[in-house]
Point group: C2
Chain length 139, copies 2
DNA sequence: AGTTATTTGTCCGTATGTATA
DNA sequence: ATATACATACGGACAAATAAC
């Protein structure tokens, strides 16, 4: 499976391999991944390598991990269409650790900030798609 | 500095402590952090804890790390104001590992995707602010 | 130009704690 | 209660990139 002579590190090879298993449908959205110990034995690498691989996938928002439970492939969440006001300024960044927990966000999910003269709103990026105002009628 | 009896893990205490040192101006944008070994000795923790703390800050886009060099506090980049077209759909997600390198993006930086009928464009979130179309004139 | 030292990256092992099943 | 599984923390070793000399 993994090539120790490759210049690519083991944990990135493993991350890539797991992504392949998701694309082929072997690990569809919502499915549990094998446990860290199982993967460690299956691929013949240390648990450290397995954890590094999973950290990559978590940071990309591909998998979700909860303590005491196996990691699972992130489900494609239903996105709400949010209509942005005119002349608004939209910036995007990663939330801080505290923000992430306060807003109940998963790891690997950016934060969208919509700023106007009147208000400022925050939105987890996996729950909304921003729609810009339509062309004025009559053109 | 760090409290081993605290329910908060050492690496998150350390991350929090480093953030404080940034806010006070001891570690301004662009400044080099102490090396992992130095921090390990200064705080009396393993290098593992130091690396975990830095991984948190990298994922939040707070610091930048290059192999062989010390990590540094991320400079606030000049953001370009990008005027979004009307009726566009804007989604945000983290880039994959490959995308991140192809677009020369730093770790901890989200990817903005602007989608219209005609085209689709991708923008690293640390370089742009999206401006929505203005209110039609005459209102 | 080349050698050495520094620094981060990767990988291994072990142990214990804590949440979930 | 017991077992499973992830989280945290320690230690060591070597590779690879950079910096210093």
């Amino acid at each position: 499976m993994l090539d120790r002579r490759s210049p690519v590190s083991l944990y990135r090879q493993l991350a890539h391999n797991l992504l392949d298993r998701m694309r082929t449908g072997e690990l569809p959205p919502g499915a549990d991944l094998p446990s860290e110990n199982t993967l460690s034995h299956e691929y013949g690498v240390s648990r450290d390598v397995v954890r590094d691989a999973m950290a990559v996938l978590r940071a990309e928002g591909t998998i979700v991990t909860t303590r005491g439970r196996r990691s699972s492939v992130r489900r494609t969440t239903t996105v709400e269409e949010l209509h942005a006001p005119p002349a608004a300024r939209i910036t995007v960044r990663m939330p801080t650790y505290d923000e992430r927990h306060r807003l109940d966000m998963l790891e690997g999910v950016p934060l969208i900030v919509i700023h106007t003269d009147e208000f400022e709103s925050h939105h987890p990026a996996d729950r909304v798609a921003i729609i810009t105002p339509p062309e004025p009628a009559g053109l």
